[in-house]
Amino acid sequence: MTPLLEVRNLSKSFGAVQALRDLTMQVAAGEVVALAGDNGAGKTTLIKAISGVYKPTSGKVLLEGQEVNFSSPQEARERGIETIYQDLALADNLSIGANIFLGREPMTKRWGFLPVLDRKKMADAARETMALLDFHVNRLDAPVSNFSGGQRQAVAIGRAVYWNARILIMDEPTAALGVPEQRKVISLIHQLKAQGRGVIFISHNLQDIFAVSDRIVVLRRGVMAGERRIAETTHDEVVKLMVGG
């Protein structure tokens, strides 16, 4: 079966600095792949190369077997690759629906001629999407600043889900959260997996990685240090791969 996403021999240099060298990895539908590694190991460079922020120096990115060359994150998003940033790209003063539709707001006509924002459509989408993620929020018109960190993370994920993202790239989605909220995000990732989406998950937290991932890809100084199935590895082994023991 063709993997949902395939990275083949990808390299990326910034001038004389080679941030990523000859990296190959795959993500299947319904699979959660964790990216681990120390700071500067190349995790961020890798996800930016996949999501269209950087152009790879060499190598290929394939989406369902087809080679893709994104020149902007927008293009990647249109093809179903959505990145959820650590600092939550949400406008805190807008509702969940308005955040889901940020930059592509639906319009409707009032009194048959006056174009206005379709707030009902936004609220409906917000309700459906949040229900799909098993998050139930009563006040759909409230700005997202009213919600907790985990709920806001769910909004960011919900936006990706609403726009039919097939690959979700999550950069430290649990880093800023308390323990109960972290669990909630982990369960969200389980939901995404169950829906057949591919997830790339960057985390420093091995506990989270072991709780949710199918496979782990460990990077060290821009190269693949090792790839393991979660069921067949241990915390110790992963740490050794990370620090190069």
């Binding site: 406008a91 998050f135 909630k184």
Partner: protein
């Protein structure tokens, strides 16, 4: 909110949001609603206060006198128009300091153009032409402000401060350092005439402000304006063209100042470079009293309308009850400070959950 956390740990992951959380949300939004309405509450309190004072000291009414209402409305026209543009700018976290002198520039341009065009075009057409040219000219410094802020990354405070000086100088040069009287009775009639007892300039302002309210609250432009003010990076990631938006934004604010200048010239049948000089800070005050935060992200046109009327009622009311006019400055200052204190308190309360 420890109760919240406890409830969630007792549940399996992915459980529903616990009822206490919803309860807290409702309580918070009630406080927010009151804070959102504070400008209207100020306005009501002021009107009641002046009414009581007026009845006790000279047995007459303050607010039920149509003359007073019209005078306050005329008083509010120019600051409100400036404040309308300023609302859009402040919501993005910017500020437009040049609006006052753009207004003066537009007033001088309107006066010159109408004087020049009246013999050839006839009175009404000359006025229309003057309006278009004045507002068009006012959009030029707005455009330059927009370029400075969006492309050249100049902080709005500095960029528009520079344009404040430029517009001021150009306006005084065009006016020859004096006021420019207009010889056009149609223009004077527009500035001072009424229909059903309502001054034309008040009607024009009301229609314009309504359109601006629609743009801010019901269109993509308005929605993006809020998003940029809250989180510029999020807006950019969502595909919003920030540069184009900011450029349009400052042109819009120049346009508001242009209309204010044109209506000023109509009211006095003269253009003066210093027409908007004292109004700039009033416009910022109106926006802040109306509930906007200078940090960006919040504010509404309706709130600004209330804020502008709070200032107009204070200014007119104090004259009406024969208090030394200098008390105006003190009163407006106190209202601004109270307003910002309410804003801070509301932020502390509604921000409590995130800081956890």
């Amino acid at each position: 909110m420890t109760t919240d956390a406890r409830n969630e740990t007792e549940k399996p992951p992915g459980g529903h949001v616990s009822p206490p959380a919803d309860h807290a949300e409702t309580a918070k939004t009630t406080i927010q609603r009151i804070a959102d309405l504070r400008a209207w509450l100020f306005l009501a309190a002021l009107i009641v206060g002046f009414e009581v004072w007026s009845r006790l000291s000279f047995g007459g009414t303050f607010i039920f006198n149509p003359f007073n209402i019209t005078s306050i409305a005329i008083f509010a026209v120019a600051p409100l128009l400036l404040a309308t543009g300023q609302t859009f700018v402040i919501i993005t976290g910017g500020i437009d300091l040049s609006m006052g002198f753009i207004m003066g520039l537009a007033a001088v341009v309107a006066a010159h153009v109408i004087n020049w065009a009246t013999p050839g075009m006839g009175m009404p057409l000359a006025v229309l032409f003057g309006a278009l040219v004045a507002i068009g000219v006012a959009m030029i410094p707005g455009f330059i402000n927009g370029i400075l802020v969006s492309r050249l990354r100049v902080p709005p405070f500095i960029g528009t401060l520079g344009m404040f000086g430029v517009a001021r100088g150009v306006a005084f040069l065009l006016a020859g350092g004096t006021t420019v009287p207009v010889q056009n009775s149609f223009f004077a009639a527009l500035g001072n005439g009424r229909i059903w007892g309502i001054p034309w300039i008040v009607i024009i302002t009301a229609v314009f402000v309504l359109v601006m309210h629609y743009i801010l609250s019901q269109t993509r432009f308005g929605q993006h304006n809020y998003a940029i003010g809250a989180n510029e990076q999020a807006a950019r990631r969502a595909g919003i063209d920030i540069k184009a938006h900011l450029l349009k934004l400052y042109i819009l604010s120049g346009m508001c100042a242009g209309l204010a200048g044109f209506l000023y010239a109509a009211r006095f049948s003269a253009g003066a470079a210093q027409a908007g000089e004292p109004l700039l800070l009033d416009s910022v005050a109106a926006v802040v009293i109306g509930g906007a935060s200078l940090f960006g992200g919040s504010g509404t046109i309706l709130g600004t309308v209330a804020g502008a009327f709070v200032i107009a009622v204070i200014q007119y009311g104090l004259v009406f009850i024969n208090v030394e006019p200098f008390w105006q400055f003190i009163s407006v200052g106190v209202v601004i400070i109270i307003s910002v204190l309410i804003d801070q308190a509301q932020r502390r309360i509604s921000g409590g959950r995130q800081s956890e």
